[in-house]
Symmetry: C2
Subunit: 407 residues, 2 copies
């Protein structure tokens, strides 16, 4: 596997564009297109929230059918959630317009929305935006980057990544873009992520790879514990790499999964580290667990703890909060056997041995916790399973962004 | 039932005192005693956190035995959690010292601790404190208030309440005190609450009344989603009111439960409203539910949502976050049937009808949400069950308190 430049336009046959449609934001781009020369097989995972945004319902029926897709139309600013029948009608109109303007099958047009819940989409602006996107779409890497910027809401950094791997003798590319950065507590995943690949792969294998990898990547991050109404991760494969068709249970499928995992994990970590108001990426590894499920529940509970996140913001080695968050996670473990370490580019320090404090240096601990990426490692010493979760610190910035998000 | 002045010393035969033992805080009281002239039956509920503080383990074995109790010794500043065998030994030494100084059965001495996790209790200071508390204890209401102040950590207000009710011809009193205000996500309850009563009541009825009421009071509040290692609610009954012994299934038991509920609910709401950094008590009522359990899960999910809490801090009627938090709660409901109202002393306003926004006035909504107590009422229109949960807004103050709690 090789890491390369680019995002959604890195794979063969994919184009992208962005435009300022004035959906809600002014003076910036707020609509994006991903377009494929050839129709794509589509895999996807969606929010488990009972309240599902209209685009989630729209995209899900495409993913669950045999329908191929050639375009994704995304807007930022308005979520099109809690918008009733009108909201669904706007998805339909968006797809119809894109089908007409692009000359593609409208039934396969995927729609993504993110932003304020409850407002109706200004469909005329969306339609005008589609015309601009159709005119502007290009296959170069810069166009992928423009699309990644257009889907940002409270994100401070665009998020994109691309890799290649060899399927037999053929080079296959996977690239993706995503946005966070509030209402992030994936289950499936609380964000929008769009992954493109030129792999030729069976639809079953495509969905299987995506569904299982989402569990270890997007579903292991949390910014604020709020599972969104709009979470969507889509994976489009247009088959243009020219490889022999990838099927489950083959070495090529393993290579595909490895590459996809790198793309998903990179985007997931970028979302966590760029959480609303965040100043640090907070990584929690639980090792020595009896089962992976136990390790996941424990790691996720720690990255979700407001108290722990506030301590990370203060560079305070308040390890009791970590043990406390493990304790209320719902997973069983022996607290009196736990070893805990803090690690960052400034070093590694053991804080707890067998459930009680070591004689560690608070000064060194603070130095370790003052870096942009900090890791807590909890060793249960009970088995070989492990899991990693990613979150961020909780700061004034989060409050500022969310006390007045709508104005 | 009648609401009266006072707290833990309101009921007959109970005394209290506070002292500045210098456990962690300087220049303020940090130890308290509740003492009963006669041995009490004890009911209690404790944290469900796997990581249990030493005093939780200590008290639980007393509650689960037939042991009566005559005193509770509480310290604030250090939680005595994650302190291993040494922590348990300190509970034992505390009880032994109190037994000796007070001339009571040491096996029945209850211990409560709250504060930093992981530090060892300075047992010499505790012992010196016990001597002061034994000298100072009095039955007047002011001494109860002093005790309520001494157990505060980041609380800004002392929390106490008392009521009387008639058991047959006899007046019975129930009083209590509690402390919050961070690591509050009760399950059982994430705080310390101490309730005293002079009721004569069977131990079985006492525990039954407490256990069921905790579900609707302390377990329905949340400040930050963090379930503490130290949660303890104790109910001591010394029988000195002189009433006929209260048994389950009688009108007197119903009267006892009603009075106990008022005490518990008042303390629970006080904890939520005085959450770390809070500027408002945020009440969420779910009505028209099919089952009470469904209503509870939905109400609790909303008061726990960081995004909703930040919106309340900003007096922003961002109702989509409320519907979103209901959606990820795990409870099933039809979002397209929900009506939502905001209410406070400034009025009541319908925000959503059948899952989509009404044409409400944002100005009026902001006025309603700018009060010290704000209520959101969600009507599922699916049945007759209802439940209420209490939380608070999420502010800079929470971050300030918790980014640097230990120093």
């Amino acid at each position: 596997m090789k890491i390369i430049e680019g995002g959604v336009t890195a794979a063969k046959g994919f184009e992208a564009a962005a435009t300022a449609a004035g959906i809600k934001y002014q003076g910036r781009t707020d609509m994006a297109i991903i377009y494929s020369e050839k129709p794509c097989k589509v895999a996807g995972t969606f929010t488990t929230n009972v309240v599902k945004a209209a685009p989630v319902k729209w995209d899900r029926q495409i993913v669950e059918s045999k329908q191929k897709s050639q375009a994704v139309i995304v807007n930022s600013g308005i979520a099109n959630a809690c918008t009733g029948e009108e909201g669904m009608k706007y998805c339909e109109e968006t797809a119809k317009e894109a089908g007409k303007v692009l000359g593609i099958d409208e039934k396969g047009v995927l729609v993504g929305s993110t932003g304020v819940i409850g407002m109706q989409i200004p469909i005329d602006k969306i339609k005008a935006g589609i015309t601009e996107l159709a005119k502007g779409k290009k296959a170069d890497l810069a166009s992928g980057t423009e699309a990644a910027k257009a889907i940002m809401t409270t994100d401070t950094k665009k998020k994109e990544v691309a890799v290649t791997f060899m399927a037999g003798d053929t080079e296959v590319t996977i690239g993706g873009m995503a946005k966070g950065s509030g209402m992030i507590h994936p289950n499936m995943c609380t964000m929008l992520a769009f992954i493109t690949t030129d792999a030729k792969i069976s639809k079953k294998a495509l969905q299987a790879a995506m569904s299982s990898d989402v569990e270890d990547t997007y579903n292991m991050i949390s910014v604020d514990g709020d599972t969104s109404t709009n979470d969507t991760a889509l994976l489009l494969a247009n088959g243009m790499a020219g490889n022999e068709k990838i099927k489950e249970g083959t070495p090529e499928f393993d290579a595909f999964k490895e590459a996809l995992h790198y793309v998903n994990e990179t985007l997931a970590k970028a979302m966590a580290g760029d959480g609303e108001g965040a100043t640090a990426l907070f990584e929690v590894k639980v090792v020595g667990a009896q089962t992976k499920e136990q390790a996941k529940v424990l790691a996720k509970s720690v990255v979700c703890s407001n108290l722990t996140k506030a301590a990370i913001a203060g560079h305070d080695a308040n390890w009791g909060r970590i043990l406390c968050a493990m304790g209320y996670s719902g997973a069983q473990f022996d607290p009196e056997q736990v070893d805990l370490f803090f690690e960052s580019c400034a070093g590694k320090l053991q804080i707890i041995a067998n459930g009680t404090a070591t004689d560690y240096s608070e000064e060194k601990a603070t130095e370790i916790l003052s870096q942009e990426k900090v890791t807590a490692i909890a060793d249960l010493k009970a088995g070989d399973a492990e899991a990693t979760a990613w979150g961020c610190d909780l700061t004034h910035g989060y409050i500022d962004i969310n006390a007045d998000y709508r104005s």
